[in-house]
């Protein structure tokens, strides 16, 4: 897989735009997931994830091949999500999410999987509580928690992405975890 991506990056650097579609295909779910957990809104996440890929394309010549390509992409998407978080008014997303169609989609998905409506609703509520707890985290904790638990990245990868010492990453994860525990630990 790595050689495939390397070869695609080379083609993009030479200006072959169609090669970039393979890169998008490979990473779109991960990047979207990251944006969604950072921003808490599907529409905004879609928008941010697209912008992340466009930025990656435009800046592909600045990509340093000694870094993992996925880490470089994550860095772009993380910075972009943080920018957007800062511009956003706090707590608007909560209302939007609850009244939006996302909840319904998730509800029907759960129902399709054969769970009883009660179970589905219960886990739907739980899902929402988890997402809200993540959104309540200050951005520096939210970022590390999302990278670690949503995308299952190692401490080393997170440190590369955020350009922070591992010790700092660890401290932030610990604080983030403690903050989440306050909202979710008693459930």
């Amino acid at each position: 897989m790595d050689t495939f991506i390397k070869q695609r990056i080379k083609a993009v650097k030479k200006g072959d735009q169609s090669a970039f579609a393979d890169i998008v295909e490979m990473y779109k779910d991960k990047i979207y997931q990251l944006c969604y957990r950072m921003l808490g809104n599907r529409h905004e996440a879609e928008d941010a994830a697209q912008e992340a890929f466009i930025r990656a394309y435009v800046n592909i010549h600045t990509y340093d091949p000694t870094m993992k390509f996925s880490s470089w992409l994550y860095r772009i998407a993380t910075n972009l999500s943080i920018d957007r978080m800062r511009k956003k008014k706090p707590n608007v997303y909560l209302d939007a999410e609850v009244s939006g169609t996302d909840g319904l989609t998730m509800y029907s998905q759960l129902a399709d999987e054969g769970a009883s409506p009660e179970d589905a609703l219960e886990s739907l509520e739980l899902q929402q509580m988890v997402q809200e707890a993540i959104l309540k985290l200050p951005e520096k904790y939210r970022t590390v928690i999302v990278l670690k638990y949503i995308d299952e990245l190692s401490l080393q990868e997170i440190s590369d992405i955020l350009n922070l010492p591992i010790g700092t990453v660890k401290t932030r994860i610990h604080r983030g975890r403690e903050a989440l525990r306050k909202h979710l630990g008693h459930l």
Partner: protein, 204 residues
């Protein structure tokens, strides 16, 4: 409340998979004895399980299409290069035809003379062909090794080989307007020209 900062630190180290054997043993034995720490640890583990199991969503089905559509336009040269590699037979056939009928490369390299299609109304100034304002040129114009400035109208195609085109705001070209400045463009221009002539011969 857990009884010490040190114990909490070990809990987190454990959750990060980054704890020494000895400390892990101390953590275990402490948790067995101390209810407060046991509860704290349990709450942390539960929290992690919740966050790890949050459902994943996927982007829209046309995500890739939307990204690709919004990318800045790629260089023309690369597009042709891709066309050429994706149509190897056609390319080979056209190139064979071209190379056997004319020495294309030699022409490209040696033909440095300024020349242009003789059409009515055209004015020439220092290797620049001008379509004057208010005038209409009927037919195609090809300019080699020079520029073209279009202030009037051209009813046909405009091709500039090894030069630039300048279209004034009042200027108009009804057909295609094209600059040919590189060898690839030059080959492409000729492939199209040959193809067009073949098609014309066949339909006659």
């Amino acid at each position: 409340m857990p009884c010490s900062e040190k114990i909490v630190q070990w809990m987190h180290d454990y959750l990060d998979g980054d704890i020494q054997k000895e400390e892990e043993q101390q953590l275990r034995s402490h948790i067995q004895q101390c209810e407060a720490c046991r509860e704290h640890f349990y709450a942390l583990k539960k929290t992690v399980a919740f966050v790890e199991n949050v459902s994943h969503f996927t982007p829209s089905d046309d995500f890739i299409k939307k990204v690709m559509y919004n990318l800045p336009r790629e260089k023309r040269r690369v597009r042709w290069k891709r066309w050429l590699t994706h149509h190897p037979f056609l390319t080979a056939a056209s190139l064979f035809l071209l190379l056997s009928t004319s020495s294309l490369w030699a022409v490209w390299q040696e033909d440095n003379e300024f020349s242009f299609s003789k059409q009515e109304h055209l004015i020439v100034q220092n290797h620049t062909v001008i379509v004057p304002e208010g005038k209409i040129v009927e037919g195609d114009i090809v300019v080699r090794n020079g520029d073209i400035k279009i202030e009037g109208e051209v009813h046909g195609n405009v091709t500039v080989i090894n030069g630039h085109k300048y279209l004034a705001s009042a200027g108009e070209v009804t057909g295609q307007i094209e600059e040919v400045n590189e060898v690839f463009d030059w080959i492409w221009y000729n492939v199209k020209r040959v193809g067009y002539n073949i098609a014309k011969t066949l339909t006659k």
